[in-house]
Amino acid sequence: MKASVLPPMPLLRQGSGLRSMHLQSLLALSPLVLVSWIAWGLPALRLQALSVLAFIGVEALVKAALGNRQRFGDGHSLLNGLLLALLCPVGVDPLAFFGCALLAALVGEQFFGGMGRTPFHPAIVGRLLLFLLAPSSRGSEAGLQALWWLPQGWLSWPIADAPRAVSVWDEAWRALRELERIAIDQAGQIQGLDRIAGLQETLRLPGWREFLWAPDAAALGQLSLLLVVPGAVLLFARRVLDWKAPFIALLVCGGVLSLLDAASLVESPPFLRALVSTPLCLLLVFYSSNPVFTPMTPRGRALYGLLLGLCMSAPLLLGLPDPGLLLALPLAGALVPWIDYWTLPRGPR
């Protein structure tokens, strides 16, 4: 065969490389991380440090063993480590958690060949591993205990329920309630607020306080919806994350639950309450919208969002919010190669 002489392409750099994308994601996560340190103190910091250490260590070892160039400098290991820590309760046994983080980095990412080749988010894999090793007795995860096949002793691993936030937040919570009470007292019989409260009760909407701070937050990343949403808006606006899949999943999931609930067919938890009391928002923003783990085309992402919405609806309907949501993402992720196969363009417009 004749030798081909190809002129080089210019290959100029532009602004958004991998490092830039990951740094922006870390910036968006930083309020949540900082507040978790304030709320839970050193244990939260320890958990996040262990997770990051596990991800970076595994990647460094695997790359060194394979003779590949180290690439944790782009920040993806740091990001994945933080995301795993944010999904876990602060009272988790550090040793078990560290083991799960190591396994997640190894099985969930490096086993498939690294980022871009695995359809499963390694942080989700780590959280699932932790759940399978030792589900806590907390209400949201208790539903699956009936399905648990391991000896009873395994269930008594030292995985504690998430402790309530430290007194700073309790004080803040009490202050908010007091402010609200004072406002109502000063206005006398304020009909408007009563109406709002009645409407919330009728529609089973979460109260405004729950958007500010989830009083029974089980995971580090569940403290407040307001700590997640601004970061999400930033990332969507800068096109670091793609909004289509989470938006469609949110619509589908909310639509399915609301319809079935309105028709009184199924006694489902109210959708907005599920949004603030489970890691749903966090999962949607930082896990389901990541272009690395979603299909490559806009059409594929829309289809992925549809499937994800359906996958998320089922566990919420069955009363298994937290573990069900964690399973929904890998389930939908397993379909990504298939979606890509059918939606990748096959020719010019």
Partner: protein
């Protein structure tokens, strides 16, 4: 003074070759001119001068030789220092005339007179534009609609803009008057049929346009490639080979007999000076008027860093300051060293940014994967031949993968495989 901020392209917004006044003129300043006898568009011409010859401005330096070569006229008076091989922007070394310009410049020859003396004709002043390609007086006029405009707009919208361009009808009329083509063709592809037929109807009072619909696997709609294919067809018709059937795309066969005249009738004006846009790093771009054949070094005095000729996406690295500035060149860019990506940084993370950006709606990572695995036929079915080599996939890739390079290599391999078979 008008300045334009560099944003993804160093062509200033709204800048038009014909309309924009130059911000300043770049003079020769003692530099010798380098005039290649071949370009990406035309085959090599035969030199009419040799080292030591004195030439006058407008005098032909070469004559057409072959089907698609063209004569080159001296843009200035001076003495020929050498006729030697020089590297051009695409990395190829081609014969060039090295001209030492005399000062003061002598009175230029009339191009028409100079060409007539050599049995050639001039088309100076004809509005030859990228939409219209004249393949020879008395021969074929091809209106090539299979063009696309890089950017967010769809090809269809870009084509509509071109068709509604007010210059098109007057240009066509002038060409018809001056060149009297035997046939006028309009080339389009599957997606442009409706628009092409609308254009045909609108230009019906001027000429009867023959539709030329290109098949989807046509490697390129560049007029030069069309003409090359026609030349092969002509050869096949002249000496039919029973073992090799004729190509299916013989739609221009009516004008084939005219193609034999092309070698003496491809015309070009002297193009002494032309406009380029020029930017340095992240600085503002400016429009310059430069003499044809001026070495790059004249532009780059006091500039450090690597040079790109052509647009940011489709250009190539200039190997040195001795590169000549020639009329097809639109832009010269001296990026900061940090702006150049030298190597592949990471593997594909399947983010899909290249798919969003591709003006041809291709799947560059999938194509690159197929090319890597030598599954060229599958890549062709996925539209490899429709790649414009605009390089936007390489540009947007956060992992800095050389996707554009892979696709270009794939097309070369595909062409070689086809030639071998």
């Amino acid at each position: 003074m008008q300045r334009m901020r560099l944003r993804r392209s160093i062509r200033p917004a709204g800048w038009c070759l014909r309309d924009a006044p130059p911000l300043r003129q770049l003079e020769r300043g003692g530099h010798n001119l380098i005039l290649p006898l071949r370009s990406y568009r035309y085959d090599q011409a035969r030199a009419l001068v040799q080292a030591g010859d004195e030439v006058r401005s407008g005098q032909p330096l070469s004559e057409a030789c072959g089907l698609l070569s063209r004569p080159r006229l001296a843009p200035a008076s001076g003495r020929v220092l050498a006729v030697e091989n020089r590297a051009l922007a695409d990395g190829c070394r081609v014969p060039c005339v090295l001209l030492q310009v005399s000062a003061p410049d002598e009175a230029p020859l009339d191009p028409q007179t100079a060409l007539s003396a050599q049995g050639m004709e001039s088309s100076e002043g004809l509005p030859l534009d990228y939409e219209l390609e004249l393949l020879g007086q008395g021969g074929i006029l091809l209106i090539n609609c299979v063009e696309t405009e890089f950017g967010q707009r769809s090809r269809r919208a870009a084509l509509r803009d071109e068709l509604e361009h007010p210059r098109l009808a007057p240009a066509l009329q002038l060409l018809l008057e001056r060149c009297r083509p035997a046939s006028v063709w309009i080339a389009f592809d599957d997606h442009q049929e409706e628009d092409a037929l609308a254009l045909k109807a609108s230009l019906a009072p001027l000429a009867e346009l023959r539709p030329l619909k290109l098949s989807p696997d046509y490697p390129s709609a560049h007029p030069l490639l069309l003409a090359r294919r026609l030349a092969r067809l002509e050869a096949a018709l002249a000496e039919p080979d029973p073992l090799r059937p004729l190509p299916s795309q013989g739609l221009l066969v009516l004008g084939m007999e005219r193609l034999a005249l092309l070698q003496r009738r491809l015309q070009v004006g002297p193009a002494d000076r032309f406009l380029i846009s020029w930017a340095r790093g992240e600085a503002e771009a400016e429009v310059l008027e430069v003499p044809s054949g001026l070495p790059l070094q004249a532009l780059l005095d006091g500039t450090e860093g690597e040079l790109l000729l052509g647009s940011l996406l489709t250009g190539s690295r200039a190997p040195g300051g001795e590169m000549p500035l020639l009329p097809p060149l639109r832009t010269v860019f001296a990026p900061d060293p940090g702006q150049i990506a030298d190597s592949i940084e990471d593997a594909c993370i399947t983010c899909g940014l290249c798919l969003d950006a591709c003006p041809q709606n291709l799947a560059p990572p999938r194509l690159a994967h197929l090319i890597e695995e030598q599954r060229l036929e599958e890549a062709r079915r996925m539209g490899l031949n429709h790649c414009l080599h605009c390089g936007i996939c390489s540009w947007v890739c956060p992992s800095r993968i050389h996707l554009g390079h892979s696709l270009r290599k794939g097309r070369w391999l595909l062409r070689e495989a086809r030639d071998e078979s």
